[in-house]
């Protein structure tokens, strides 16, 4: 590859436009993994079997690991973890809203459908990053991909089991009806989409990725007796929700979740600089 013409260089050497595009690609990816994991952890003592407690915890741990890998690359640009997560405002997060929704109460099918739709997307996204022009991303893609197989297997396995009888299938159908429009936010474009593709930070457009995703998820879900509001040819019968996440717009559930998982950080006053003496002006 001729680095001169198409490859991006070190974090310090990027032009403003390149850096903006790299950030725009990484932020939804990092936040998506992080917030999905936050939601998964709600299940880790309540999944239907001890093995699934372990499985969902393990998957959450992987996704947190992936989030950390992508946040590392944002930290290359001078941000700290506190800037990116613990002290960030709700609107600074760019994850697709699929991952922030609370689970329908006690609904394991929700966790499984969400995981399936997300993992099928993530795998596609990672493949579209394998040929990235940004070496810092290229270094990490293979490692993350290798850890995704198990997630996909887990979700498919549970989907089949849940769809084994009518009451189970009905639960899955309800979860699918509720989540599918939000799953479309995974492919929502940002204003940086053209730049990301032109600079080959990602080698496929989100539109193309969505097409491939539909080709895979629609037949599989239909084969389980589920009805999907889309066809594998790319026709989609539902609208995008009002809040897509990747533009900074979020559902009302998001500030609540953020508040909850940053509570310890705030309680420990980690955001406050330590002071040995009272400010004389305030004394």
């Amino acid at each position: 590859m001729s680095t001169e013409t198409t490859g991006l260089g070190t974090p310090e050497s990027l032009t403003d436009a390149e850096r903006e595009a790299v950030e725009a690609e990484l932020r939804p990816l990092a936040d998506g993994e992080f917030v999905l994991a936050e939601r998964y952890t709600e299940w880790q003592v309540q999944a239907p079997t001890l093995e699934s407690d372990l499985a969902i915890s393990n998957i959450a741990q992987d996704e947190l690991g992936h989030a950390r890998l992508w946040y590392d690359l944002l930290e290359d640009f001078g941000y700290t973890e506190a800037d990116l997560i613990w002290e960030a405002s709700p609107g600074e997060f760019r994850h697709p809203t699929l991952v922030e929704l609370p689970f329908a109460e006690g609904d394991w099918a929700d966790a499984i459908v969400r995981g399936y739709l997300y993992d099928a997307y993530e795998s596609r996204h990672l493949h579209a990053l394998e040929g990235t022009s940004y070496p810092r991303i290229a270094d990490r893609v293979g490692k993350v991909l290798a850890e995704e197989d198990y997630h996909t297997q887990h979700a498919r396995n549970w989907l089949s089991r849940l769809c084994d009888d009518e009451p189970g299938r009905e639960r899955v159908q309800n979860a699918l009806d509720r989540l599918f429009p939000y799953a479309l936010t995974l492919f929502a474009e940002t204003e940086h989409e053209d730049a990301i593709v032109e600079m080959r930070i990602r080698t496929e457009s989100l539109a193309a990725m969505r097409g491939e995703w539909l080709e895979v998820v629609v037949p599989r879900l239909e084969s389980l007796g589920l009805s999907v509001p889309a066809s594998e040819d790319g026709e989609v019968l539902v609208d995008l929700p009002d809040q897509v996440g990747k533009d900074g717009s979020h559902t009302e559930h998001w500030p609540e979740l953020l508040e909850e998982f940053t509570r310890t950080y705030r309680k420990l006053e980690l955001g406050e600089p330590p002071r040995l003496l009272e400010d004389p002006n305030e004394a």
Partner: protein
């Protein structure tokens, strides 16, 4: 390293046939130049050059390898070198060192490339800080820069013979010729 890594390692872990693998990424695109961002790593690690063990290292590099051998994985009694986590150790020549501070101090800046068995490793900070502190106290070292790298992907094939023996002793068997 978790039990899951080793448990999975023995059996082929290819998922059943859904089209994840069928989606062709554009195979014609040539990959980016690996490690174009590192300024010090001339010998890019590759599957064939690993595990790196410091076999032919001399001087300060050899002393660093010796110290790294003394550091165990946080979960198992096996050296991080024998586990295959260290991808490279390199003493940075004075002339290459443009960062300034090190030039004043007596000693050499040492650059280390390492990986972790899995991305969610909760001991990442503990381990990297331990390594930095240990290596900084090696004779002749003035400064340590530790880079976490993820390519090539760590696998059981990077465990050395000694590492396999230590793992067996611990009760974990690494299959012969395991390429994970």
């Amino acid at each position: 390293m978790t039990d899951q890594d080793t448990a999975n390692a023995g059996s082929p872990s290819s998922p059943d046939g859904i089209a994840e693998q069928d989606i062709e990424t554009e195979a014609t695109i040539e990959g980016p130049e690996y490690c174009a961002y590192t300024d010090y790593n001339q010998d890019t690690p590759s599957e064939t050059s690993l595990p790196a063990t410091g076999e032919n290292a001399t001087g300060v590099e050899q002393r660093v390898w010796d110290r790294l051998y003394e550091i165990d994985d946080p979960e198992m009694p096996v050296s991080i070198v024998d586990l295959g986590l260290i991808y490279g150790v390199r003493a940075v020549e004075e002339s290459e060192d443009t960062t300034g501070d090190a030039a004043d101090a007596a000693g050499t800046r040492v650059a280390i490339d390492m990986t972790l068995t899995y991305t969610g490793c909760p001991a990442r900070k503990m381990l990297t800080e331990e390594i930095e502190a240990e290596v900084r106290s090696v004779e002749g070292v003035s400064e340590v820069s530790l880079d976490l790298v993820w390519s090539p992907n760590w696998s059981l094939s990077m465990v050395t013979e000694q590492g396999r023996a230590d793992l067996r002793e611990f009760g974990l068997s690494v299959p012969e010729g395991e390429e994970a």
